[in-house]
Subunit: 234 residues, 2 copies
């Protein structure tokens, strides 16, 4: 049953996709903090703990069958209900951990089917929903001068392309050797930010408008035109 | 037993990491073509078919134990033996499919341990080895004006940072709706390219030298300084 988009007390619906194997990790602390602060502001919160759920991240041959679509349908429903989707994860090799990458490969893949009926970017099926990447790094800096460039495939090529309004990322750098004081500061900043998360402006994303205008095709929608059982790419 | 780096007939050692669930896919055709042409030129070829192997892509708590390191040790050994590592995969959401992302998260992660004893980029532990991304897309174009920008986290942030000399990618665009003639052309281009793959110059990568000079730390090496059983990030 899909909940209403706005709960009775005026709060919003937030869906947190969490991808860390260790509850006592700093990612776990960021997750629990988010749940608490969002609820305290009257929002409804759903959480998918991908490791705990045993989420299967692998695209398989029978992903084209209706039955397997049902496996990810629960995740699709949570996205459908959400006004904001928060992804909480440790950055591995400048990208999502595999289990979260697989969530994109399967859940966003299913939802991208809707894009065919609407459009790309601001016309995307998931327009009106916000998305926010909250991640930790082990090292105290990222290996690129531009954080935006590093996040391009994630923020633009995965989320914005299907219509999400992407908020600036919440980055907790160098948690591996951070002092307790530093970690407390990260948690305090997260609390403050989430308190006004529905009022803040979306991120200035690297533009790919020129590409979008030139090519009226999404990287994945080619599938729509062909027989999925004969798929050459997937 | 590690093989010699150069086989007796003067050929080189090539390791192909293959990530597609369907042998009869075009990715499968590119794989078989690569094996045949490389062998015909006197090279030795090893293949890891990640789906067929049931490769587990998930970083787990006990990845810090010696036993689990043994699980990926077979993959590490193949990389160690190789002069060239080819990654053959369908591009999902501007990045690796989850199973291949997990290979990076675990195998390159283990090998990045060596980096601590050497350095980054041209001083990386895997220097002298070549890496090449060969991928298909479903749609006939990519969603960015710069292919390099899209590949930054993969080519630079994962492979070049540990020392690989990265060759330009082999891109088979729009295979989903490609004609048989088009697919034959892709295979012919792949054959021609692989025939001289050890002679070709490496890619002009987006530079992150300034970053590397400023920060003498790899995104993952922070772990080296701390007790892994108490890891906050991983």
């Amino acid at each position: 049953m899909a909940a209403t988009r706005t709960s009775s007390n005026g709060g919003k619906n937030v869906f947190i996709v969490y991808a860390h194997p260790k509850p006592e990790s700093f990612n776990g602390a960021l997750l629990r903090t988010a749940v608490d602060v969002l609820k305290s502001h009257g929002h409804s919160v759903e959480v998918s703990d991908l490791y705990e759920m045993g989420f299967d991240p692998l695209v398989r041959l029978d992903d084209f069958s209706v039955d397997v679509c049902r496996v990810v349908q629960g995740e699709v429903d949570k996205v459908e209900r959400a006004d904001l989707v928060v992804f909480q994860f440790p950055l591995y090799w400048c990208s999502f951990p595999a289990i979260l990458k697989g969530w994109m490969d399967r859940v966003i893949q299913v939802m991208s089917g809707f894009v065919r009926k609407t459009g790309l970017y601001e016309e995307g099926a998931l327009r009106g929903k916000r998305a926010l990447l909250s991640f930790t790094t082990g090292a105290p800096s990222i290996p690129f001068e531009s954080l935006e460039a590093m996040l391009l495939p994630m923020q633009v090529g995965t989320l914005n392309v299907v219509g999400f309004d992407v908020l600036p990322p919440q980055v907790s750098l160098g948690v591996e050797n951070a002092t307790g004081e530093k970690l407390e500061k990260y948690l305090a900043a997260w609390i403050e930010r989430l308190s006004g998360v529905f009022e803040e402006p979306t991120a200035e994303l690297l533009t790919i408008d020129k590409w979008a205008k030139k090519h009226s095709v999404l990287i994945l929608t080619a599938r729509a035109k062909s027989d999925p059982t004969q798929a050459k790419h997937f």
